[in-house]
């Protein structure tokens, strides 16, 4: 029996550590830069790119499945020439605008020659994915100023930082300033609409608002023009700098420096160079917005959304759950009713999470959100403000989902408070509430924290209900920004869990996105771990306060 039980534990532990190790390994290696290889094929074609995967083909299986196909015949020939199991590799060839594909499988027996060109450069671009090529010339204001890869690369190193700075500035102008102007314009329009709704069309207030609106439109369009001019100036400055790269099949392509996020000569990087690149990629991953349908760039909005939603959820669920548990344990008279409520709560924990999502959508978004819109945001209708999925409703839905966890944990914690303490407090002349507030609750706090930790872990990892109540693939605006009232809980948001699903199964460039799935998973696990770690630290501090001394 000991072997059976121990074996079960061993298998469980192995599965968990295996899972974590797998995600960890795949997650941290994604960002590490690999070499660029140039393959010359039998038919004279050349391919250049990074090898992302290697597979050994089951010759026998392929041949048996389709004995008369060309592929089988090829493989049969290859296996006589190269041994029993022909290898094939997945080459990331990039240059999507030229080739129409990001990746290509290459069978080893078709490769005539293989080398690693010293000046093969990997270019990560803002659009079209990666580019692989050899720098040929640097262009400043239409003039080719260099001829060799060395000089070109040196100039690229000189100019790229300032171009990037200008691009960032332009991006900030486009999002922040234009976003602010749009918000102001919208506010002016809403003021008109509100006056029309409340005072009636043609009323004095309405006319006044209309005049305000006209001046606002005037002022804002002036500002728009100013921002646009600024953007155009930055673009014009950036457009001066270009780089010509030569692909493996000798085609020259001109890339604007402004479109280049990052470029590196992969085969010349030493360990420190690779490390710097690795760090830079992680920084981008953690701090920036996604690009290219989420498969490139960062996941900062998703991190932010996950953390903020989990915190709001905790803020909502903790007081509710604790109060409910307090009533059940301290106030309610034991009986059939209380037992029924308790059973119902425990059953609630077993309801599939998508059901909560449906409920959240129907109740929070449509019913409550719709009413809120009618009462406070009538001027914005028919555009919903709170009457759709958003951060607040998602947090509420998850709060509902995790409520049983908190209630059960709190009840247990309350039950564990020694009755002698309660009696001691009552004997001092304390009322029930004073006893609960000053004695029972502080003593039960570590147990309540445990419940909160479990709830947070459950809530942060939940995806299914969120898809119904406010998580989106790409939310350009964070729920917190510089536009009054700074916190926008009605906005849709991004979530790491959904991001993983989106990367893995909804991406057009799924081969490129696949490694990001692991990295994002690692990040999600890391964030949940961090949140739990903080809560556990807090609990440990509380616990130290309540260690009782044995007599």
């Amino acid at each position: 029996m000991i072997w059976l039980t121990g074996g079960a534990l061993l298998i469980a532990v192995l599965m968990i550590t295996g899972l974590l190790a797998f995600v960890f390994f795949r997650g941290i290696t994604t960002m590490w830069p690999g070499p660029v290889v140039k393959l010359t094929m039998d038919d004279g074609a050349t391919l250049m790119g990074e090898i992302t995967r290697t597979e050994v083909q089951r010759y026998a299986a392929v041949a048996a499945a389709r004995p008369r196909t060309e592929k089988a015949a090829l493989l049969r020939r290859a296996s006589t020439a190269h041994g029993a199991s022909p290898r094939r590799r997945l080459l990331r060839i990039g240059n999507y605008e030229l080739t129409g594909e990001h990746f290509r499988w290459v069978d080893d027996y078709q490769v005539a020659a293989e080398d690693r060109p010293a000046w093969a450069v990997v270019v990560e671009r803002t659009a079209w994915g990666r580019f692989y090529g050899v720098p040929r010339a640097f262009i400043v204001e239409g003039q080719r100023v260099t001829e060799t890869p060395e000089e070109t690369w040196a100039l690229f190193g000189n100019y790229h930082p300032e171009v990037t700075a200008r691009r960032t500035k332009r991006r900030r102008l486009e999002t922040k300033d234009i976003g602010r102007l749009n918000a102001e314009l919208e506010a002016a329009r809403l003021a008109v609409r509100a006056a029309e709704l409340r005072m009636g069309s043609g009323s004095g207030v309405h006319a006044e608002r209309l005049r305000d609106y006209a001046t606002a439109v005037q002022r804002i369009s002036n500002e728009f023009a100013r921002v646009r001019a600024e953007v155009a100036a930055l673009n014009a400055e950036n457009a001066k700098f270009k780089m010509i790269l030569e692909t493996a099949d000798k085609r020259e392509v001109t890339l604007a420096l402004a479109d280049i996020v990052r470029a590196y000569p992969a085969n010349q990087l030493g360990f420190t160079g690779k490390l710097a690149l690795y760090a830079s990629r992680w920084r981008e991953f953690l701090m920036d917005e996604p690009r290219e349908a989420n498969s490139e760039g960062g996941v900062f909005p998703a991190i932010f959304g996950t953390v903020v939603m989990t915190l709001i959820m905790s803020l909502v669920v903790a007081p509710f759950g604790v109060m409910a548990a307090l009533y059940l344990r301290e106030y309610a008279k034991a009986g059939a009713m209380v037992s029924a409520v308790r059973i119902a709560i425990n059953n609630l924990a077993g309801v599939p999470s998508i059901v909560f999502g449906v409920f959240g959508l129907g109740f929070f978004c449509y019913l409550i959100g719709g009413s809120v819109d009618k009462m406070f945001f009538a001027e914005r209708l028919p555009n919903p403000t709170y009457g759709k999925g958003g951060l607040l409703w998602a947090a509420f839905t998850l709060a509902l989902l995790t409520l049983p966890v908190i209630i059960v944990a709190t009840e247990e914690a309350l039950a564990a408070v020694p009755n002698s303490l309660r009696e001691g407090s009552y004997a001092c002349g304390a009322s029930k509430w004073q006893t609960i507030r000053r004695i029972v609750l502080p003593h039960a706090m570590p147990g309540i924290m445990t419940g909160l930790i479990l709830a947070m872990a459950r809530g942060a990892g939940e995806v299914a209900p969120l898809m119904l109540v406010g998580v989106v693939k790409l939310a350009p605006e964070l729920p917190v920004d510089g536009i009054f009232p700074f916190l926008h809980p009605e906005r849709s948001f991004m979530h790491l869990g959904f991001h993983i699903y989106d990367l893995g199964f909804q991406s057009q460039n799924s081969e490129a996105a696949k490694p990001m799935v692991y990295t994002t998973t690692l990040l999600l696990i890391g964030i949940i771990f961090m949140l739990n770690f903080l809560a556990i630290r807090l609990r440990a501090r509380l616990r130290r306060k309540f260690v009782s001394v044995a007599l």
Binding site: L421, C428, G429, R438
Partner: protein, 294 residues
């Protein structure tokens, strides 16, 4: 109902002795519970009077028609075998038993002539007038200082000077001041068991109650701590009327002025401690105080 037995002869051939079971039978047969109080107690000022007090937990009756007067400023001990209702009686005085949902009572108690169980009595006010010390020390998980001033805190007292003064006075009275004065801010759970119990006494007297109920306060303590608590009771007794439940007969004999013997939920014998221990009326009392049963 069995036939009432003739009054048996006591251990010393004293004819006034009677059998407890016989007495219980008389009560059961409808004779009212004995109401006579020892003249010495009658001559005292009475702080608490119980009148035909009965209590049951659900269907199980735990106290049967208790009539008892407690002398002011004296130590009164309640002794008796386990399960005889001593603690229940004590916990009825400050109505801590009310917290149990199935408790029902009959009869009444009077504190200074005022009913404890009459409708409309402010239980919180009552508990402030009657301090209680429990069997197991139960300091709250907070600092020593906060423990002592807890009764004032719940009254909303925030005046620093007032709190400090009460804290020091209570701790001095509880003979704990010298030991803890330099670490009032430390957690009370770091004190030893005896110190914790004296802290609980300090807490109980911080609100300046009239009575102090002690429910086997030394049963969880070592002999030295027990001695300290007993000395403390000796010092406190002029100021507070102390009612102590104890299993320790020597302790009852040493510390109390009056002793009540309870058995099977009834008050069997009650009088000056010396009488109870050296010249009990009843066989059962005699056997209990000499350690032959219980």
């Amino acid at each position: 109902m069995r036939e009432l037995q003739p009054i048996p002869v006591g251990p010393r051939g004293d004819t006034v002795h009677e059998d407890v079971t016989d007495r219980l039978a008389r009560i059961a047969a409808g004779e009212s519970a004995p109401t006579e109080t020892h003249p010495e107690i009658e001559s005292e000022s009475i702080v608490l009077e119980m009148r035909d007090f009965c209590l049951s937990y659900g269907t199980k009756q735990a106290l049967f028609g208790i009539n008892m007067k407690v002398a002011r400023g004296k130590v009164t001990a309640i002794i008796g075998p386990s399960g005889c209702g001593k603690s229940t009686l004590l916990r009825s005085i400050n109505r801590i038993n009310d917290l149990l949902p199935t408790v029902r009572i009959r009869g009444d108690m009077l504190l200074d002539g005022m009913s404890i169980y009459a409708p409309g009595v402010d239980v919180i006010e009552l508990r402030k007038r009657i301090g209680m010390v429990f069997q197991k020390p139960n300091p709250f998980p907070m600092s020593i200082y906060e423990n002592v001033v807890y009764p004032l805190r719940i009254d909303g007292e925030t005046n620093r000077g007032m709190l400090d003064e009460v804290c020091e006075r209570s701790l001095r009275r509880a003979a704990l001041w010298e030991e803890v004065k330099d670490r009032l801010r430390e957690n009370a759970l770091g004190l030893s068991g005896g110190q914790q119990q004296r802290l609980c006494i300090a807490r109980a007297i911080a609100a300046d109650p009239e009575m102090l109920l002690m429910d086997e306060p030394c049963s969880a303590l070592d002999p030295i701590a027990t001695t300290k608590i007993e000395n403390l009771m000796e010092e406190l007794k002029g100021q507070y009327s102390i009612l102590i439940v104890t299993h320790n007969l020597q302790q009852a004999a040493r510390t109390s002025d009056y002793t009540a013997f309870m058995y099977l939920g009834r008050l069997i014998e009650y009088g000056p401690t010396a009488n109870i221990f050296s010249n009990p009326h009843l066989v059962e009392t005699q056997e209990y105080v000499t350690g032959r049963f219980g």
